[in-house]
Symmetry: C2
Subunit: 432 residues, 2 copies
Amino acid sequence: MSRKMLIENGTFAVLEQDQTVIDGFMLVEDDLLTYIGSERPDHCDDAEVLDGRGLLFLSGLVNTHGHAAMSLLRGYGDDMVLQKWLQEKMWPMEAKFTGSDVYWGTALSVLEMIKGGTTTFLDMYDHMDQVAQVTEESGIRGVLMRGAIGLCPPEVQKQKLDEAVAFARNWHGKANGRITTMISPHAPYTCPPDYIEQFVQAAHDLDLPMHTHMSETQAEVEQNVADYGARPVEHLLKLGMFSRPTLLAHGVHLTDEEIEVLAAHKVAISHNPGSNLKLASGVARVPELLKAGVTVSLGTDGAASNNNLDMFEEIRLAALIHKGVSGDPTAVPALEALRMGTEYGAQSVFLNNTGKLAAGMKADFIALNTEQAHFVPRTDYVSHVVYSAGPKDVEHVWVDGKQIVKHGVCLTLDEERIRHEAQAAFEGLLSR
Amino acid sequence: MSRKMLIENGTFAVLEQDQTVIDGFMLVEDDLLTYIGSERPDHCDDAEVLDGRGLLFLSGLVNTHGHAAMSLLRGYGDDMVLQKWLQEKMWPMEAKFTGSDVYWGTALSVLEMIKGGTTTFLDMYDHMDQVAQVTEESGIRGVLMRGAIGLCPPEVQKQKLDEAVAFARNWHGKANGRITTMISPHAPYTCPPDYIEQFVQAAHDLDLPMHTHMSETQAEVEQNVADYGARPVEHLLKLGMFSRPTLLAHGVHLTDEEIEVLAAHKVAISHNPGSNLKLASGVARVPELLKAGVTVSLGTDGAASNNNLDMFEEIRLAALIHKGVSGDPTAVPALEALRMGTEYGAQSVFLNNTGKLAAGMKADFIALNTEQAHFVPRTDYVSHVVYSAGPKDVEHVWVDGKQIVKHGVCLTLDEERIRHEAQAAFEGLLSR
């Protein structure tokens, strides 16, 4: 017999063009949404009832690019030139990361993400077994991959590839399907061409999608042309990557022709506006990408370059900056920005069962408390979510039908312990 | 005998270049900060004691441009071309605003601002007696002015000027000095030159500073050149405005020469990044303004064009967008952005007794709850405030030595009633 929950008197952000919200009822059966509508559904007398008054229900937010454990380096280096920041601050500290550091850094990030309404996150890092463990324990949905930098001797390259393959095979479909995996060379500028080809082959062998960083900075694009005689899109196309379903992070510096190639090969882009602004990488051509039919989703990137994991901020930045930079106030409308943070996010990580409030989808959803000044007057809830809401408006969170945040408190993780252990991990990194 | 409060075990963001925070003690006597330091002060045995553990104390945020009552139109029109938005949405509704609408709209905004850590706000609008009343009741510090649009017959022009003068004279220094006033023609493109000159004369007569909108859009600058043969800075200079202490809102489109004129005349700029992005007005030349020595502060603008009144967001945007647009990751460092939201804000509205945590200043300060994931690890609290914090991290707020928010609850305003009345006011506007 299935476990049922009926939400009454709620407002449900279904985000259809002709009807963005429905006032009424939503039925959850086990891990699935089975009904949303203005009329009370049949066959729900045995359901647990939740009064949705004063709550706005949204599909959970999907963070499509990040390195969760890097929250241990939040605020450790800011407002610096990229190479100096990487060479003097990030890389020396990251080289010291142990599995335990990754566990606590990831727990710190997942805690922040869950409480802020993110129900699915992508993670590309090292020590991924620990990331998978946090994912399993916390109840979040995770799209996980061992990211590999190939600037190392062949035997180390091989070891990283083997780890990436073993991780992807071992964890795909685990935690009741909450964990899926991808195959991820770090970037064209950190992986020699033949090494990228080995990852493409592994992705074919495992029938998994691929993820990599691409064209984050202008300098990186120029280096690619100098080294390989091609811009990154053409380079990756030649290496066969786009023969797999692929998600690229950043894609800030793209030509019209490159956008056409991405659209033709159904390659998705994870737009990371906060990180791109903070690292002065530039402003991605999101209106042009959307117009060309490319699936564009949103990511926070790691907390060392953001410095939070607030998807409401990424949604808002996506809606704001392209207007300001293009001079067109209709660029990236609010509804499109919110879809980028939900529906397009799920599509970007190749999940077809989440990212939308609709019957048949997984019960991955959040409830915002709208009984607050910044949600008044009740004009347009999509506008309010995009332009006014924040992570702490999140009252409740469910993933896979299970409630993991209740009245702002995470039910699955020990917040105080995580903050303490993460602080200790950071101090340990400093002292080693 | 003075009323004393001693804060122990706190972290105090004094924001000096060589020491941004002090761990220790802060003493408040009546409406003043009298001590901040790492040692326990003398003569405080009779003080009420507050345990500051887990709290970060900051000077209250200063919002230097807005139209509070416009929160009644939050989300009523978004993602539209400016003229269509003004003509079809804003102006028809604003024409119907009564004193009661302004009262409830302002109360809604002040509630959001106070709870979000803003302790001083500037307001330019109509029905200003109601705005002053909300300011008095709420306990916030207000810099208030009747803004006048001069596109009307001479007798209406005169009536507005008289109202502006009477309001400025009647309310300046009221509410224990919490209310100060300024003189404010709306903008060079909405006020004929001779009308602006009358405001300049009034400001001289009353010995008050001036405020106006200027160079928000490129079109407005071009219109000014077409109408008056000069760009707005030269135009206002000729009309004598800069003979008064002046704060200009926006200043998005400025030449190098105009920046020099502003610096030479000590004219301050209220940078409104959220509003400028949303309305696609462009990105102000903030790094150049700061380099030239212009005082740049931050404003939310009205909630119809933002759509929140979150000063943390404006501080973050100020730190982020100029990096992304200029390609320089050192443009507008975090400390400078935070000063723009506090110290430079107070300077912009010509208050020399607030905007900074220092002995001798008014006790206008806020406490953020740092026992949260996004403040971990404890690396750099200035970075965390600028890049990670949000309005709902505000635990307590004091203005003029009086606590007005305690554990996130506003002590001076009836939140539930304000939300209800603001919603009713909006529905009334729709139905009239």
